[in-house]
């Protein structure tokens, strides 16, 4: 990235606007269509999906339940009914396949808010914001589980912005818009990517799943990297890229193995050299399968 240029501009110049936004657009489409499925019932009487993201019933047969919520519930001492157990198992298996934090970048509605804040943060050129340690989220995750254990109630659900935002969209807004505004302003002015990448315990839970998940982004053609830094600039969790992208000398494989990677695919979009690809954890050999293509001129 040249000074003064926006991240991704080389990719737009090289691949064209659509190709340089492919994953971003797919992701937005996924977020909005999942929301639309939930809203089709209350708005248009099309009851395909009932409930909220916490627990839902699709076409009156498929139960889905947030496993993080189920974990808290078990800690409160309640043994859930079968529907919730099956629902949580399905969700668990799904995210173990496609990547734990796919929940964050492809489903969660707060991501739209925090991505907007990060984008504006970058456009306004705001510097010097507070930085939390990235493992703060695990502390908060532990706290939420402890609160459930000690209080015997789902305490975190009283304030959990992720479920509140979704529920308020489907069942009535109340004061939830204040919460959305607070998160937006927090991410914009107080701490860049503060909520999703540093604090959110839901993200922390799915990060733990992400350590084991199958589908991953790989810097498969890392030999082509020209150090433009665009991928670091757009990545919500830039610390995950380096071990994979620059790990050739340390004999580290090219697959991004960190559980914090959200599989958002934005790095694939903005890379003008097509370094990144969707792959699986099993394709992590240190010899590049793209080695023979390194001579290809852009």
């Amino acid at each position: 990235m040249q000074p003064g240029q926006r991240p991704g501009s080389e990719a737009i110049a090289g691949k064209g606007w659509w190709a340089a936004h492919r994953w971003l657009l797919l992701r937005r489409a996924a977020q909005l269509s999942i929301l639309a499925l939930f809203l089709a019932g209350p708005w248009f009487g099309l009851w395909i999906v009932k409930g909220t993201i916490a627990s839902s019933l699709t076409l009156d047969v498929l139960p889905l339940t947030d496993p993080y919520l189920l974990l808290q519930m078990v800690l409160t001492g309640h043994s859930p009914e079968q529907a919730a157990l099956i629902g949580a198992l399905i969700v668990l298996v799904f995210y173990l396949l496609v990547g734990g934090r796919v929940y964050c970048s492809w489903v969660c509605p707060v991501n739209l808010v925090t991505d907007a804040a990060a984008w504006l943060h970058q456009r306004l050129g705001i510097r010097h914001t507070a930085q939390f340690r990235r493992n703060t989220r695990y502390w908060i995750l532990g706290l939420t589980l402890l609160l459930a254990l000690v209080s015997g109630t789902l305490l975190w659900e009283l304030v959990n912005p992720v479920s509140i935002v979704y529920r308020s969209l489907i069942f009535g807004v109340g004061f939830a818009w204040l919460l959305v505004l607070a998160i937006f302003l927090f991410d914009l002015f107080v701490s860049r990517r503060g909520w999703c990448s540093h604090l959110c315990p839901v993200g922390a839970f799915y990060s733990l799943l992400g350590h084991l998940s199958v589908l991953r982004v790989s810097a498969a053609a890392r030999e082509r990297c020209n150090d433009c830094m665009d991928c670091y600039a757009v990545c919500p969790e830039p610390q995950v890229i380096r071990p994979a992208l620059k790990g050739a000398e340390q004999n580290t494989g090219p697959v991004i193995m960190s559980g914090n990677c959200t599989n958002c695919g934005r790095c694939i979009d903005v890379c003008s050299k097509d370094v990144f690809h969707v792959s699986t954890r099993f394709n992590n050999s240190t010899t590049s399968q793209f080695a023979h293509k390194t001579e290809v001129t852009p």
């Binding site: 916490a54 009914e81 629902g87 015997g152 109340g174």
Partner: protein, 285 residues
């Protein structure tokens, strides 16, 4: 060597400092959430939980706030609390005076609940206890004024069991009856139809949560006559009969007739007419 030791010391210090900061911050957050929850978990008396809801504390541990019960309620009775309302946010409730529970025999809200926060063991809607109707204001209830109303009695889905009419004498008119509605907790489900139907501006009969509506006798209390019935006889030694020192020809009946004067005995010191006694000694005047 000492240089690297120093830098290690510094980084360790920084690491521990960072840890302490994070721990303090998170602990503060926990304190805030905990305190807020104390407030948020206090359910207002007008908010009733759906049929089969577990006891409030257990309910708040089991309900995932998904709203599936709300969706399957055919009468739009249930709603989810929104952020800023008094009811713990996201949990289902209804307000009897606005839309009462219609007591569907198949209880679709319970069937919809994926977690069992609404107890799947409840299969008879008549066994549900969402609250208890209480005639909270006898001063405004027109039945107590001697007027015929009986709307709560007639609307009650468990008619003549959950609410009965007890007749009392109307002391104002001296010749009419009061038709007093009386709620019986062994039958009332707390559906709220009586509160909804009450003809007053502000209902005189209200459904309250059970912990507000019910009293409880001390566990050590025993009702003598019930214990006697259970045991099939008196549990204490029979009383020693009191011996009255009575003049000849008189007895005392302990079964309730009291003092008995035998007819054939000598004339009593008193005549039949009490005036005779009063006049005694004044005959010469």
């Amino acid at each position: 060597m000492s240089d690297s030791n120093d830098s290690m010391g510094v980084s360790r210090r920084r690491f521990l400092g960072d840890m302490a900061k994070t721990a303090c911050g998170v602990a503060l957050l926990g304190l805030g959430v905990g305190l807020y929850s104390r407030q948020a978990a206090s359910l207002p008396a007008t908010a009733l939980r759906p049929p089969g809801a577990l006891a409030e504390e257990d309910f708040l541990g089991a309900c995932v706030r998904c709203g599936l019960c709300v969706r399957d309620c055919p009468f739009d009775t249930l709603r989810l609390s929104q952020l800023g309302e008094e009811v713990a946010n996201g949990t289902p409730y209804f307000v009897a005076r606005e839309v009462p529970c219609e007591m569907c025999p198949d209880i679709p809200c319970i069937k919809a609940c994926p977690t069992g926060a609404l107890d799947h063991g409840l299969t008879e809607i008549d066994d549900s206890r969402m609250g208890l109707a209480v005639v909270v204001d006898q001063e405004s209830c027109i039945a107590f004024q001697g007027l015929r109303c009986e709307v709560c009695y007639n609307i009650c889905p468990i008619r003549n069991e959950a609410i009965t009419l007890e007749l009392q004498h109307n002391t104002r008119s001296g010749k009419h009856a009061l038709f007093i509605p009386v709620v019986h907790s062994e039958a009332c489900t707390g559906c709220g139809k009586c509160e909804k139907a009450c003809i007053l501006e502000e209902a005189a009969i209200k459904v309250l949560p059970l912990h507000l509506a019910k009293g409880m006798l001390g566990k050590h209390y025993r009702l003598g006559w019930k214990e006697k019935e259970k045991a099939g006889g008196s549990l204490v030694t029979p009383d020693q009969q009191h011996e009255y020192n009575l003049p000849e020809g008189m007895r005392y009946d302990y079964e309730g007739r009291g003092l008995i004067v035998d007819e054939a005995a000598t004339p009593t010191p008193f005549g039949d007419n009490p005036l005779d006694t009063l006049k005694r000694g004044r005959e010469g005047l």
